[in-house]
Amino acid sequence: MLGYILKRVLATIPVMVFVALFVFSLLYIAPGDPAAVIAGDQASPEDVEKIRKSLGLDRPFIARFAEWSGQILRGDLGRSIFTGLPVAELIAQRIEPTVSLMIVTLLLSVIVAIPIGVVAAWMSGTWLDRSFMGLAVLGFSIPVFVVGYLLAYVFALQLDWLPVQGYTPISKGFWPWLENLILPAIALGFVYIALIARITRATMLEVLSQDYVRTARAKGLAEGGVLFLHALKNAAVPIITVIGIGVALLIGGAVVTESVFAIPGLGRLTIDAIVRRDYPLIQGIVLMFSFVYVLVNLAVDLIYTLVDPRIRY
């Protein structure tokens, strides 16, 4: 197992190299000029050119890539063109809100979606099943920002139960932290709940038709035990896979959710960096997200062994 983990970690290196090269090339050929954005609308073309030169943006692709690669190898993500602050510091400032949002969304989604999927499969073909699956279609269909605005309108503006926006670090207390995350997590989790619920239902339907389920019932096991202890465990592998894949979905959704709820996370940092063509920052964020995604996939593979003893590495 340890050897497998080591191999997988080592395999991330070529992946990261490819991602780095791809992102750098893409940004190099993308239109837009950070120097023009920095200089502002009133700047003369000469001023823009001087700023471009001072930032080193006039140098050829190879020279810039070599310098950036060298920095990365030394563990330095460089400095943001706009703020002048280290990219690592900017990312560190924004990690907590995004990770918090993802964790709360993930927990909420799993807690809500799996029982829905299980019950829908158990009551397959009934009005309850159809209602749940109808809600799932709704979850897929309504954009995150629409759900977000509706939630903010009802629960913040009308009922005044929760704040409209912002983020409070967990160091300032659990409830202030959670209070700011409830609405964003529901908005972001809507599509995720729909996805997990549908996969759970489909997988459970297959498992529930297996002989060992009939046997479990025949020997008098309570229905809850049949569903959640026997069937769900055997349906877990595809569900875990979808949860893993969904992390990418969450990263994408966080960009919109963080904007709607003014959460100062990595999603908004990414958008700001792209709009301003802050190349070092974009590269740093993409590299970090890629690394996280590779790790999530590794974690998913390892969890397989916990739920299915037949899987061995």
């Binding site: 924004r94 005044d160 409209v164 926006q165 912002g166 202030p176 709607v260």
Partner: protein, 533 residues
């Protein structure tokens, strides 16, 4: 540990109990501290007012750095850091004396050498500063409190240059910081203004915090725009960045923020209905919309074709697209200058007035031999103002029979592509939209759009030496009447040349909670004198 159904139910009950007690207040940063939560027009992505000339940087900088002079609501420069000034009878030597009690946030006194270094850095970037630099013989610190600026020819607009609101503003920094290359960003944010910048709390794109500088000694005069006593009644001002206008609107209604600098005009009716919110015009100097033409290539290298567009262009169409139907927010502007300001003139603006004549425009295009060359319109879709203008332009050009190559893109790309002098079909462009702050259009100083220096002019590179000569005369004008006469000529000549096409004058609202008082309109958000109950 096993999780049972009962454990889960207990947990849910606890959460419900907390919810039932109502929303818990977020912990205060400092108990009893007076905090103003402000949502600025844009993200404070950098904090060097000389290196980056965005207005949001200037607005934040006025809290941290002080200036020698500042303009009042009559656009007249008033003393700020200086106690007095003298100009020699030949107009060649300016001597400035600093007022006592000026101190930087690190405790060091403000000295003449700091002023010299700051003005040196500023003059390398500012259009007026560059003019002064070109005639500068010497800029020295005579003693700790006295600065002498010796010129080779008189520069009557010296005080305006040092106190103007247009970017870059001549902020005074400690010498060690001001010695930074003007094309590189400073890394330390120490000023002598009324607020200190809390560097450790700065999260670009999220929050910027300013804390009261207890040792600041404000002037005794009442605050007025960039002049007067910079009295701050808050211990802390938090700039909270909210990119989504709907969120900012909801946060203001919910009392989570105190002041929103630029409410979207679509959301204003909702805010007006809320009795806890007050609205007023943010900046009476407003903005002038711009239809910028490329004078280097067909079709707009032909003045007849430029005039054809000019006679068909309806400023009302543009303004309704930009700010909606609230007529308090816009007015026609057949001028390159800001309505309501001393130099405003409509002389020569007739082609933009009255009924728009599509047929005459078509006829003029035909006379000019327009052969259907496509007009490459660069339209930034991520800026509501440029997007709205671009859509009107596409319709206008099609109506008069021009071929439109509509390039829907983002502002970052427009910023890069507009600098290209290539042909429109080879990476260049035919026209783009922007807007100029009214504070920049009060005179030729920051009004870059009217310059016609060819290769040295602003994007579009209009070339008309006669207009440039007229503008140069303004810098030497000694009386307001003299200035007005020159500006009338500049406007007339610019309209005839169709240097660019103003698309109208528009204003924006600002909104704040009714427990905040003392907010007045101006070219920058006025924190000085404002209070929160």
């Amino acid at each position: 540990m096993s999780i049972t159904r009962r454990t889960v139910l207990k947990g849910a009950g606890a959460v419900g109990a907390i919810a039932a007690t109502g929303r818990l207040a977020a912990p205060a940063v400092a108990q009893g501290a007076s905090v103003l939560k402000f949502v600025p027009q844009a993200n404070l992505a950098n904090f060097d007012p000389i290196w980056g000339t965005q207005y949001v940087v200037r607005n934040a900088s006025q809290l941290v750095w002080d200036t020698l002079y500042g303009v009042d609501d009559k656009l007249q420069p008033q003393r700020q850091m200086v106690e007095g000034e003298e100009v020699s009878s030949d107009g060649l030597t300016w001597t400035f004396k600093l007022r006592p009690g000026l101190k930087f946030h690190d405790g060091e006194p403000v000295l003449a050498k700091d002023v010299v270094a700051s003005l040196t850095r500023w003059s390398a970037r500012d259009p007026m500063g560059l003019m002064i630099k070109a005639i500068q013989k010497d800029l020295v610190a005579v003693d700790d409190k006295t600065v002498k600026w010796v010129l080779s020819r008189p520069y009557p607009k010296m005080l305006l240059a040092l106190g103007k609101a247009g970017t870059p503003v001549a902020f005074i920094m400690p010498e060690r910081i001001a010695k930074t290359d003007p094309f590189k960003q400073i890394e330390e944010y120490v000023g002598s203004g009324p607020m200190k910048f809390a560097r450790s709390e700065w999260k670009p794109g999220a929050i910027a915090v300013f804390e009261k500088f207890k040792d600041y000694v404000p002037r005794s005069e009442a605050p007025m725009w960039l002049s007067g006593g910079k009295v701050v009644n808050f211990d802390r001002i938090e700039w909270i960045i909210m990119p989504d206008p709907a969120t900012a609107s909801a946060a203001l209604q919910n009392g989570e923020i105190d002041w929103w600098e630029t409410p979207l005009s679509d959301l204003v009716p909702v805010l007006k209905k809320n009795r806890n919110i007050k609205l007023d015009i943010a900046d009476p100097l407003g903005n002038v919309g711009s239809f910028r033409l490329n004078h280097l290539y067909p079709p707009f290298n032909d003045v007849k074709i430029r005039r054809a567009v000019q006679m068909a262009l309806s400023q009302e169409d543009y303004m309704r697209a930009v700010v909606g139907d609230d007529t308090n927010l816009w007015k026609p502007c057949p001028s390159f200058f800001t309505p309501g300001t001393p130099l405003y003139t409509e002389v020569g603006g007739e082609p933009l007035k009255g009924k728009r004549d599509i047929e005459a425009a078509k006829k003029l295009l035909s006379e000019a031999g327009y052969a259907g060359q496509p007009v490459t319109c660069l339209v930034a879709q991520d800026q509501p103002i440029t997007k709205a203008q671009g859509e009107i332009t596409a319709d206008l050009l099609k109506k008069i029979g021009m071929t439109v190559d509509f390039v829907a893109t983002d502002w970052g790309t427009v910023g890069q592509r507009r600098a290209s002098k290539n042909e429109p079909g080879k990476g260049g462009w035919g026209m783009f939209h922007t807007w100029h702050a009214g504070s920049d259009c009060v005179s030729p100083v920051g009004n870059i759009g009217i310059r016609t220096g060819g290769e040295k002019a602003w994007f579009g590179w209009p070339d008309n030496p006669a207009i440039e000569e007229e503008i140069a005369k303004w810098y030497d004008a000694k009386t307001l009447d003299e200035e007005k006469a020159i500006i009338a000529n500049v406007n007339k000549m610019g309209m005839e040349h169709v240097t660019y096409l103003p698309t109208g004058f528009f204003l924006t609202y600002q909104a704040w909670r009714s427990n905040v008082s003392g907010i007045v309109g101006g070219p920058t958000p006025s924190f000085f004198g404002a209070k929160k109950a």
